[in-house]
Amino acid sequence: MFTKVALLVLRKDVAIEVKSFEMFSTTLFFAVSCVLVFAFALVRDGVVVADAAAGILWIAIAFAGTLALGRTFERERYAETLRALLLAPAPRAAIYVGKLLGIVLLLAVGEAILVPLVALLFSAALFARPLLLGGLLLAGTVGFGAVGTLFAAMLVRSRTRDVMLPILLYPITVPVIIAGVRGTAALLEAAPDEPTALMWIGLLTAFDVVFVTLALWTFEPLMTE
């Protein structure tokens, strides 16, 4: 039941997205704009400041992720479909998991384009350890999405949601950003520092476990009117 509901919510979101490409195209465009803006700040005389590629990649993911989180629930407001979802005789937590999977999938597809782009623009050896980088990106995206999905869902009914989401999201997800940036920077060194990257993946996984559990635990009372 639980898995089925979660997968149904995910399928619904994917179907809408495949049809319109609205969130994917806007989010990706925004992420690329972020990369460019930071490139102007961090590239001097054609040379990139040390570790800048790692920072730019994660800032682009975090900023674009915020945009996507806002959109995914904004869409549910049009025809009060969120209420319909919540009224459905399904476990609330499963709806949350479905939404979270949708966000993680969307951001993962975006990252698949963003990472080669950053590697190319900043001549960063992002593909030296593809598995470790993939682990960092996945664990980081899940952590960011876990907190973001919960806050975005709660903010649907608030008038000031556009302002409130980043205000709530960034202070809590700072550990994800630090771990992502430092882990990626460790992989970008001339001799990739695998133990450091693994340590950050471990921290990110612990963060994911704690915050997904917390979100599942608080989603039910938070979404009750």
Partner: protein
Amino acid sequence: MKRVFLPVLAVAAAMFAFAPIYIANAPFEASMGLVSKIFYFHVPSWFAMFAAIFISGISSAIYLFKGRAWADRLGVAGAEVAVLFGSMGLVTGPLWGRKSWGVWWPWDARVTIALLLELTFIAYLLVRKFGGPGSEKLAAALSIFGMFNVPFLYMSVNIWRTIHPPTTVIPTLPSGMPGPFWLSVAAFLTLCALLLTLRSGLEHQRAALDALYLEDE
């Protein structure tokens, strides 16, 4: 709480009156001179901030799951008091840092963690103020998340950067310093408890006033 409030207030006032004399008579720390006295304000304000954060987080959880109104009031009070003591720590910290490390803001681990916690609870207050109807629950969730975020902030920022004097400095204080230090800690924690009581009492009266207005209409 009402009955013990005045005696506790008197004790706190006495502690705060005595502390400056006690601190002034404490020996100077060799390398820092007069600036080392900041220590007696700086560290206790963090103790008080953490106490307020945990009170806010725990009562927010009680509010969210049991729907108790008093827990929500204590949650706001905790967040506000945490921001208050946090800003004290953030002001006294750079004063120390300028003397000790030569820069106001060294991006050291503990300083950064403190700033992030301060931001989390300022966000709590912003949500409550501008979030519109139903923002109490949202704020409560933020407070719980903020509390659970403390160990992660600690680990991530600590690995990222560390130059702050380690916490182990407290047991190794030169003789003559632990006395005033622990008195300051006790005074700050008492002040924290008093402020929490006052603030949640205020929130209680506000709720009572709202109820009266509603009745009148």
